[in-house]
């Protein structure tokens, strides 16, 4: 038996844009001004969408949903390197990434308002529907990647989940399957410090979650998740590795859940404002904006205009949503099987007569 100690490499920590908005040019990804502007717009749109949806929820127009205030850079950064042939598997907090990928905002509103129409990935968008069950989409995402490998397609899958999801057995199985089959998969763990009321220290005994990947033989990195340039750099590298047949990577994107866990949650019960405060300074949008302004890639005026435009787009989506929001209770049997079996036909008949009794016949 070889008795030399097993050497473990250190885990890199990546930050490109520091909290003052200064760039480390040696690490910056090569992005055009247009790309930088698109990233910025997507982040602003995410934030606008988030706050509008919160308002709608508070007014009773929306069901419970999970805000992502403060996580805009992790959201957009992770999907930026993906092509239409790559796949993305979102978590329930990934609507920023979903919009980037081509989900319409009105559809996402439908989804959170409890309409079945909101769930299926839109035509041409290679995404999974998101998973409400923590971690349950990670194995299917690896399966998609294994399918790509089997079909010799040089694409990749990016899958997004939280720090809490790292505790699920199924997620750890997914790491192992991806590593063993060298599946072209990018794991993005959005470590926002909380799983509802559970802080990271009660979720895991390691300071960095990236070390988990090492335990499975997956190249892993810890990234400043509030730094859009670091996110783009790390996910681009990981996606390229995956497409080149070099297997999976794990990216721990360190960010913070500035807002509620969901609209059913009251964080004042379990966390002090002092914990949240420092993160205001680290706001991913502010930091990126400072940089863009200073480098004259976008002026302050342009930023304001972008904000207005994004707000406008969100309002248009809301209007479309309001037109589309119509429950179709008569359809609930129609998608369970390819062809409805006799026992369901019988049950549907019974159900339709219940609807009829309520005056809801289609």
């Amino acid at each position: 038996m070889d008795t030399k100690p097993v050497q473990l490499d250190n885990i890199d920590v990546l930050q490109v844009l520091n909290e003052e908005g200064m760039v480390d040019t040696t690490k910056a990804p090569p992005l055009t001004h247009d790309q930088l502007r698109r990233l910025y717009v997507a982040m602003v749109l995410t934030r606008k969408f988030d706050s509008r949806m919160l308002a709608m929820q508070r007014q009773g127009e929306m069901g419970t949903f999970a805000p992502n205030l403060g996580q805009e850079a992790t959201q957009i950064g992770q999907v930026f390197p993906l092509t239409a042939d790559d796949w993305f598997a979102p978590s329930y907090r990934s609507f920023g990434a979903q919009i980037w990928r081509g989900w319409s905002m009105e559809q996402l509103l439908l989804l959170w308002a409890g309409y079945h129409e909101g769930f299926p990935p839109p035509e041409g968008v290679n995404d999974l529907p998101f998973s409400i069950v923590i971690g349950s989409h990670v194995l299917p995402a690896v399966g998609v990647a294994m399918g790509m490998a089997q079909k010799k397609q040089q694409h990749c899958v990016t899958v997004n989940f939280g720090d809490g999801a790292m505790s699920q057995g199924a997620v750890n199985e997914a790491f192992n399957f991806a590593a063993v089959y060298k599946a072209p998969c990018v794991f993005v763990c959005e470590n926002n410090g909380w799983a509802i009321s559970t802080p990271l220290q009660r979720q895991a005994a390691t300071e960095s979650l990236a070390v988990r990947g090492i335990g499975f033989g997956i190249p892993s990195i810890r990234v400043d998740g509030n730094d859009i340039l670091a996110m783009v750099a790390a996910t681009t590298t990981a996606a390229e590795r995956a497409r080149a047949g070099q297997g999976p990577s794990l990216i721990e994107a360190v960010t913070y859940r500035m807002s509620l866990h969901t609209t059913a949650d009251d964080p004042t019960v379990y966390r002090q404002e002092e914990h949240v405060d420092p993160w205001h300074q680290r706001c991913p949008l502010l930091r990126f904006e400072r940089y863009l302004n200073r480098e004259s890639i976008l002026t302050e005026d342009e930023c304001r205009r972008i904000a207005d435009e994004c707000e406008q787009r969100v309002l248009e989506a809301r209007a479309k949503f309001r037109e589309m929001a119509k429950a179709r209770p008569e359809e609930i049997f129609d998608f369970v099987y390819h062809t409805m079996p006799p026992e369901l036909i019988e049950q549907k008949k019974d159900y339709l007569s219940r609807l009829a009794r309520k005056g809801l016949n289609p």
Binding site: G63, Q347, D350
Partner: protein
């Protein structure tokens, strides 16, 4: 006469847990966000503050881990009460429930019995997202070694949970979340402990027996009010309370008397609790039946997205119509 306090089911469950923690040093709680957050439905509110982090344990996000370690604590002689945030997530713990929680007593020939409870809210009606409205009590009823208990109101919730915690066998305690805050009821201030395995005839009647449990008791009661006042049909109502083992005797006694029966549950139809009740009536009271037993249940489709959930759930009108049908069955 002892005093009572008006409580919601959430408050009544909290009371039962507090009493258990206060009187038995071996009782401990375990679950996601049950500590300073008090659980997502606040059933464990204040308990960590009162009884300490050692006994009211916040867990990592892993249901299999919660049940599996609770099994170990029970082997060690503790009486863990594990909370799974929604019954839809008990699937993550299925292996530990079926392979260990349900079997340890048998495997060790009474040597390592597990006195433990797995609490979890079940059922629809609160406009929740996917996987948050499941009623899969039939899975557990089909699993040898478990007991399955489902309260229908604050008072029996408290007394049944107390009984479940004291029970020497592992209990799946399914809480009807639609009832959590739906109404208040007088709950005795002094400890009250129910007896598991007993159904309750909550209303006597002579024309037909309605068997139900949990959140469906309310539409059942509503329907039978209407049936009696508007249609002169005299309904006998049985609240199962314990689903497994089932109180067959009470069921058979009633159906033998009325000759007619309807079962009502929100869980899916195929191989559901209704099927089992019908089979038992078929076995023990076939000769007394004047009509087929009616079955009102959730349909065999995934629980619908919440804009449509109210139509999926059995409602009083459906129950009324079915009973009227059966009363005139030829």
């Amino acid at each position: 006469m002892s005093l009572t306090t008006q409580r919601t089911m959430v408050e009544a469950l909290n009371l039962a847990l507090d009493e258990a923690l206060s009187t038995d040093p071996d009782v401990c709680l375990m679950g996601q966000d049950i500590g300073c957050n008090g659980g997502v439905f606040r059933v464990t509110k204040g308990l960590q503050g009162k009884h300490g982090q050692d006994r009211v344990m916040d867990s990592p996000l892993a249901e299999c881990g919660i049940v599996g370690t609770a099994v170990g604590m029970a082997i060690y002689g503790l009486k863990p009460v594990a909370e799974i945030q929604f019954s839809g997530f008990t699937m993550q713990a299925f292996d530990q429930i079926e392979q260990n929680m349900a079997r340890y007593r048998n495997r060790t020939r009474h040597g390592q019995p597990l006195a433990m409870v797995m609490r979890t809210p079940y059922g629809g009606g609160i406009r929740a997202v996917e996987h948050h409205s499941e009623s899969r009590e039939a899975y557990w009823a089909h699993t040898p070694g478990l007991k399955v208990v489902i309260p229908s109101g604050p008072r029996n919730a408290r007394a049944l949970l107390a009984a479940a915690i004291q029970d020497p066998d592992p209990v799946i305690f399914y809480e009807p979340k639609a009832v959590y805050r739906a109404f208040r009821e007088d709950v005795p201030d002094d400890p009250e402990v129910a007896r598991l395995g007993r159904a309750q005839v909550v209303r006597n009647g002579s024309d037909i027996t309605v068997i139900s449990y949990g959140a469906m008791m309310r539409p059942v009661l509503e329907a039978s009010d209407d049936l009696s006042s508007l249609h002169g049909i005299d309904v006998e109502i049985i609240d199962l309370l314990t689903i497994k083992p089932m109180d067959t005797e009470t069921i058979i006694e009633s159906v033998t008397k009325t000759g007619r029966c309807v079962v009502v549950h929100e869980g899916h139809k195929t191989c559901g609790i209704g099927a089992e009740i019908i089979a038992r009536i078929n076995e023990h009271a076939f000769g007394h039946l004047l009509a087929p037993v009616g079955r009102i249940s959730g349909y065999d489709i995934p629980f619908p997205y919440f804009q449509c959930e109210q139509h999926f759930l059995p409602d009083p009108d459906t129950i009324i119509e079915k009973i009227q049908d059966l009363m005139t069955w030829q």
